[in-house]
């Protein structure tokens, strides 16, 4: 099998709900064939991207995206330390992500984190039910230019507003994206966020838009 075919197969595997065993077998085969780890991860990342694009078009369902993201993460864990080192490279743009305090629903956040990771971002995932100060500390510690907040319940929107307000105060150049079932673009704007995505499908484009706006140091609201 040619190198191109191997990479094509890996990419397709992200769309085919492969089992862990099937993934590991293909990863081993690719590395034994001398395919660079970066190319392997690139192919897998493209697979997740393709799954995301097809979800956006209504051709795939959420379980399929979750499985793609799971497989991608498993591949990251299994490839060589060299690849892991590459993954943590400072060249990657950092994103601090978490579910706001009071909310324990993290499926949407996990999907967004997986999609962003596959799109090449360095994720700092704080989990769910995250207090405001933990978000702020993580932004300072990691120097991430992007904060992604998730909240599924209307009862925790005030906590989200609070995180946005304090982030704005302490780090005006940080781009803030929000998402979740209780939100829409209008409400995101009223909370003071720079970006909003209705689902994980639109997150990478929105992240790029927010970062571009922030890099011009003229924070544009959603």
């Amino acid at each position: 099998m040619s190198r191109k075919d191997i990479l094509q197969q890996l990419q397709e595997g992200m769309l085919s709900c492969w089992s862990s065993e099937r993934l590991n077998k293909s990863l081993r085969a690719a590395l034994l064939a001398g395919v660079p780890v970066e190319d392997v991860m690139g192919a897998l990342g493209h697979g997740v991207e393709k799954a995301r694009a097809e979800f956006k078009q209504g051709k795939r369902s959420i379980p399929e995206i979750i499985i793609s993201v799971d497989l991608y993460r498993e591949a990251v864990r299994r490839v060589s330390p060299k690849a892991r080192k590459g993954r943590d490279s400072p060249k990657k743009v950092g994103v601090v992500i978490g579910v706001v305090e009071g909310d324990v629903h993290d499926m949407g956040k996990n999907l967004v984190a997986g999609v962003l990771e596959a799109a090449g971002y360095a994720l700092f995932d704080l989990g769910r039910d995250v207090p405001r100060d933990v978000f702020l500390e993580s932004l300072v510690k990691t120097g991430s230019p992007l904060l992604a907040l998730s909240g599924m319940m209307s009862t925790t929107l005030e906590n989200m507003r609070d995180v946005v307000r304090w982030t704005r105060k302490l780090s005006p150049v940080t781009g803030i994206m929000v998402g979740g079932a209780a939100l829409d673009r209008e409400l995101a704007r009223s909370l003071g966020a720079d970006g909003y995505a209705e689902s994980a499908a639109g997150v990478p484009e929105e992240a790029r838009r927010v970062l571009a706006a922030m890099s011009r140091r003229s924070p544009r609201r959603v």
Binding site: C17, S19, G58, S61, I62, P63, E64, I66, I67, D70, G102, V104, H105, D106, M107, N110, L111, R128, M153, S154, T155, T156, L157, E158, A181, A182, L183, D184, E186, L187, S190, E198, S199
Partner: protein, 385 residues
Amino acid sequence: MMHVLKIFDCLRQGRLPPLREIPPPLLDAFASMSSVRGKVSSLTSLERVLTAFRHKQPDRVPVTPILCSGARQITGTSFPDHARDPEKAAEVFTAGFEFVGGDLVILILDLSVEAADFGQKMFYPENSTACPDYQKPRIREVADYRRLRAIDFARAERMQNFVTLCRSMVRRVGFRAVVTGFVFGPLGVLSMMRGAERLFVDCVRHPVDVMKACETITSVLVEFVQAQCEAGVPAIAIDTLYASRNGLSKKLWEEIEGPFVREISRVIKRNGLLVGVHNCGHDLYFDAQIRAMEPEVISFAHLPDDCRTPKELKERYGDQVTLLGYVPTPLLVQGSPRAVMEECRSQIEVLGRDGGYILAPGCEYPPNIPLTNAFALIRAAERYS
């Protein structure tokens, strides 16, 4: 004869009889008469709702703010008390109905009622809705789906409390409005015990195990809806959130949850009650849910996957079900009353024609926001119909 006795017995007890016990031609005649009378005088809430259900034009569009735990603000009741004490919950729902108004009282406590009784550890926060402790999921691994056992419904505290709430509200509201029960579908219950993310993956990788658990859960849910029927509510809503783009593909949903919600729906219908579906997911599958449950009403927050506009929705499904919705939650949270009323006006114009429509939020009225926009909904129904 049996039916007539049953109907009179319900009326004597001061509650609405099971509508399926009444012959459809009689209901249609009643609705037609109400529709005519509605042109010259105000109808009662019951007349209005029944007329809309039979797809006739009432005096105005019926409305419900789906005011549940949000009405705690009126009584000063805490979230945990509302969730766990049926009499306090009844006081909250009654206060919401009497203070804000509406033609239907939709009873929802939270989405963890059934899961809690199956042994899921719960949080009962002071300032928010009860929810599962996902650090301690009842279903930890795939094998647990098959290990799940049916519970003794008589000892199912939260479900029994909900039935008590139904009974109490039927008595308190009487003929002033339609009171509806509620049940979370088996996949929803499982998601509370497994976490939605893992459940979705299991639906793809281990569908047979998931269905085994659905079967176990459904055996208890059937008892739950039977008890609600006996409590006197005239309609019960089945929540099938995952029959949408927020959940499974249409095909997978029909395979996994479809047969079980069909069974629940049949029990409700066998008791003469109306079946409602509540689904606040995006691009929900109206067609698949109608196939599975043959509901009379669908409560929705977003357009279905096969309709691009509300007009198309009305044309495609308006003669099959009564539509209940779909004022967006974010608008209720941050919109002005004027903006809410404007949204209501446009929905009434498109969906309210020829009955078959009830104005409502897409989901429960947000519990922690002021009640101003609940009043805006009621006012819009009165003004724009």
